[in-house]
């Protein structure tokens, strides 16, 4: 039976080839992700969805050569898009039951 978790430590995140301490600090400072545990940067723990957004932010920053403010805006819009798509699907399903 494979072990499952919904957390990842900052040290484990650094093992991802393109994730550096500077990238993680930038993403936390801009509010792209919020650690769920850890008073200092070396002790940070993130939930797995935050790890997903953090990796996405790092890839956009590195691949598109855009600054962190732009990355923050893109991530914010992508999160909103995902949320709106989900809500839209839910509302459509509810509407169908009323027609």
């Amino acid at each position: 039976m494979a072990e499952t978790t919904i957390e990842i430590s900052v040290t484990e995140l650094y093992a991802v080839e393109y994730i550096t301490p500077k990238l993680v600090t930038e993403a936390v400072d801009l509010g792209i992700v919020i650690p769920i545990e850890g008073a200092s940067a070396k002790d940070w723990v993130f939930d797995t969805n935050s790890a997903h957004w953090l990796k996405k932010a790092a890839r956009l920053y590195l691949d598109l050569e855009i600054d962190w403010v732009a990355v923050c805006m893109v991530i914010d819009l992508l999160k909103q898009k995902e949320q709106l798509l989900r809500e839209n699907a839910q509302l459509r399903a509810q509407l169908q039951r009323f027609i």
């Binding site: 990842i8 797995t48 996405k56 590195l62 691949d63 509810q94």
Partner: protein, 314 residues
């Protein structure tokens, strides 16, 4: 191996300056970056574009490439026998976020990452294997308690310099109360580590399967309950389904379409939160085909002062 025309890939002229190259790259990268475009083939296209940019943005690398281009390769390209791999190369033979480059790139610039060229104990070339993510559909009923299930997926692996996809099956415990969009991490179950690096992690992206009766709103469940006009008018006791069995519900007299009735604790459950079941009434009109039914409706129409459009009269 096929010669790659990096100028054509970026859509720039041979004499394009760095500014034009960067502009072309950004435009294509915004279109094809896999984090912005989930279409099939977008990721491969982005890798190709990133590889072309990696070469053309660097003056030394571009000069080497131009030299080879003049040497004349199209199909069946092989570097010249006296070609010195890696001239002007800074050692980063992968894309900024770890993309693997093509054999064509590696043959010219002396590397890229190729396991065949490095021993397993070579620490300089050790890094974590690729993480992977797969969507896992879960039925609402299955979120009420921890359950185990088999997950099938395939991971890319390098064998003799070639990428192969290996199918794997894992038995995993899905915790109670997983929500739509949540990600569950399986440490070390994805791409094999390079050198001494650890294996990548597998992420299970939870997708709740649409239910024939219930909709999900946060931790709450919504149930649309069809009722007859007389049930709505006079009140009724109706047996309704929940995720964990049937219960009896009392409908008050004078109920309306869209009215919500909350049943505490019959929604989705996590370790810390228990949602509610929200029953939404939907008054359904019967077909009025019989003379008797028509007579009854006519008697109501004659005796009632009810105007459903009072809001329009102002």
């Amino acid at each position: 191996m096929e010669f790659k025309d990096y100028y054509a890939i970026l859509g720039v002229r041979e004499d394009a300056d760095l500014k034009e190259i960067k502009k072309a790259y950004r435009k294509l990268a915004l279109t094809f970056h896999p984090d912005m475009n989930a279409d099939e083939g977008a990721e491969e296209k982005f890798k190709e574009v990133a590889e072309a940019y990696e070469v053309l943005k660097n003056a030394e690398r571009r000069a080497e490439y131009d030299e080879l281009r003049r040497y004349g390769g199209t199909k069946g390209f092989e570097p010249p026998p006296d070609w010195q791999q890696g001239k002007g190369f800074d050692g980063n033979a992968r894309g900024p976020s770890g993309q693997d480059f093509s054999d064509f790139f590696n043959s010219i610039f002396g590397g890229g990452f190729n396991q065949a060229r490095h021993s397993a104990s070579d620490e300089a070339f050790s890094f974590k294997g690729q993480d992977a993510e797969i969507e896992v559909p879960i039925f609402l009923e299955d979120t009420l308690a921890q359950h185990s299930r088999n997950i099938e997926f395939s991971i890319p692996t390098y064998e003799g310099g070639q990428i192969r996809h290996i199918k794997r099956t894992l038995k995993v415990k899905i915790p109670m109360g997983v929500m739509d969009g949540e990600r569950i991490r399986l440490k070390g179950q994805a791409g094999p580590g390079h050198g001494q690096g650890p294996n990548g992690d597998l992420y299970l992206h939870i997708r709740l399967v649409p239910h024939p009766l219930f909709d999900v709103q946060g931790h709450n469940l919504l149930l649309t309950l069809p009722v007859s006009p007389w049930e709505a008018a006079l009140g009724a006791k109706i047996t309704i389904p929940t995720l964990s069995g049937k219960i009896n519900l009392t409908i008050s007299p004078n109920s309306q379409t869209g009215q919500k009735l909350r049943i505490k604790g019959k929604g989705l459950k996590t370790k810390t939160v228990t949602g509610d079941l929200l029953v939404i009434l939907k008054v359904v009109m019967p077909q009025t085909n019989s003379e008797e039914a028509k007579t009854l409706w006519q008697r109501m129409a004659d005796s009632s002062q009810f105007n459903p459009r009072t809001e329009w009269s102002n």
